[in-house]
Amino acid sequence: MPWSREDMAARAARELKDGFYVNLGIGIPTLVANYIAPGMKVVLQSENGMLGIGPFPYEGEEDPDLINAGKETVSELASSAYFSSADSFAMIRGGHIDMAVLGAMEVSENGDLANWMVPGKMVKGMGGAMDLVAGVKRVVVVMEHTSKNGEPKFKLHCELPLTGTNVVDMVITDLAVFSRASRKDPFKLTEIAPGTTAGEIRSKTPARYLG
């Protein structure tokens, strides 16, 4: 059984430390908020200008002026703060955010990330992804091990336009976890999903890694 989206989110949540300021991307990364260990204080930052994102509001309490970076309605906490977009990215770019969890289309063995564009097909824009990978201290990628048509996503080189070069510290897929001690080190296979083998992971991973 490969890991589910929830399992992957829970695994990413184990990278959190008490007192962390964290930015969560859209999709599986958003689910990470549901797995923060009880008693651990983690402050979630949203690019559109909020620190201290609360849970989704109760039905009937949605506020159009209170959304996250995914444009979803959220709620505020007693400790929340609001600020401008320029201030928000000063936090991000300036290295004040401890960790970001992001989705990816491709990651390369040297930690390059591609997650914003498919030339000629998808024209959405990078949003805050390039700023996040440039400035956040630790970047954890959560993605399916292979694309919908079976193509491996952890590769020798990214083929899609890059979001950043040498910016990924950990890759969590439905089959495995790869991590590295620093951005000068190679990735190492550190965990294998139940029912998977090291051989299967090797056969589905063009990127070179230790372990």
């Binding site: 909020m50 849970p55 509001p57 959304i67 959220v74 977009s85 990215f89 805050g128 440039a134 400035g135």
Partner: protein, 244 residues
């Protein structure tokens, strides 16, 4: 109203004399949150064309800047994310619309810098990507930085929660977003507010945008604010489970 008053009776008159074809506009808002809808509607009605619009997003197909895209009044967009607008994608892929993608933080900082009189700055964001193409770079302590230039606009349009007749503005929650930054970058900045009050009604310590940046202001109420993605949790006894 004195002759120097910043207060205008409506959006149409607040834009009179400052619009012409080909101008550059900075527009506040994130998604459909904190978007100057009343001013955009007046811009739409004015028929002004060939606009360059600096805005994080491009609205949806029938809200926000989406209105101006539909009517082909925009020649070029400078944005970071336009994924919610199908008409945008169609016009761009058909070569009918010029588009400059900026990373969101770079966009915010370019506007902040422009408004603050900073010609350019060096940032790590986008180094080694398509964003860096054709840009000057510097390597400092082994890190590559790319040069980005400040953005200024002929006209900035912003939305605030409360404003006074001097143009001091207060925003509400995440509707602040790009608005304070856009307000600083316009040769002429026009603000729409939900509540227009007399000087003294807003506490001087609580002002987000000082009135020096705001040249014209209207009371845009009533507002029927839209939600792009409604996400809620159910009320469940003894559970904090988040469901959408």
């Amino acid at each position: 109203m004195t002759s120097s008053s910043k207060v205008y009776p409506d959006a149409e008159r607040a834009l009179s004399g400052i619009l012409r074809d080909g101008i550059t506009l900075c527009c506040g808002g994130f998604g459909l949150c904190g978007v100057p809808d009343k001013l955009i509607a007046a811009l739409h009605a004015s028929g002004v064309r060939d606009l360059t619009v600096v805005s994080n997003n491009a609205g949806t197909d029938d809200a926000g800047l989406g209105l101006l895209l539909k009517s082909r009044q925009i020649r070029k967009m400078i944005s970071s994310y336009v994924g919610e607008n199908k008409e945008f994608e169609r016009q761009y892929l058909a070569g009918e619309l010029e588009l400059e993608f900026n990373p969101q933080g770079t966009l915010a900082e370019r506007v902040r810098a422009g408004g603050a009189g900073i010609y350019a700055f060096f940032t790590k964001t986008g180094a080694g990507t398509l964003v860096a193409e054709g840009k000057e770079t510097r390597v400092v302590n082994g890190e590559t930085y790319i040069m980005e230039t400040g953005i200024v606009a002929d006209v900035s349009l912003v939305k605030a929660w409360k404003g006074d007749t001097e143009g001091n503005l207060v925003y509400r929650k995440t509707a602040r977003n790009f608005n304070p930054n856009m307000a600083t970058a316009g040769s002429i900045t026009v603000a729409e507010v939900e509540e227009l009050v007399e000087p003294g009604a807003l506490h001087p310590d609580a002002i987000h945008t000082p009135g020096i940046y705001v040249h014209r202001i209207i009371n845009g109420s009533p507002y029927h604010k839209k939600i792009e993605k409604r996400t809620v949790r159910k009320r469940m006894e003894g559970s904090d489970a988040v469901v959408s």
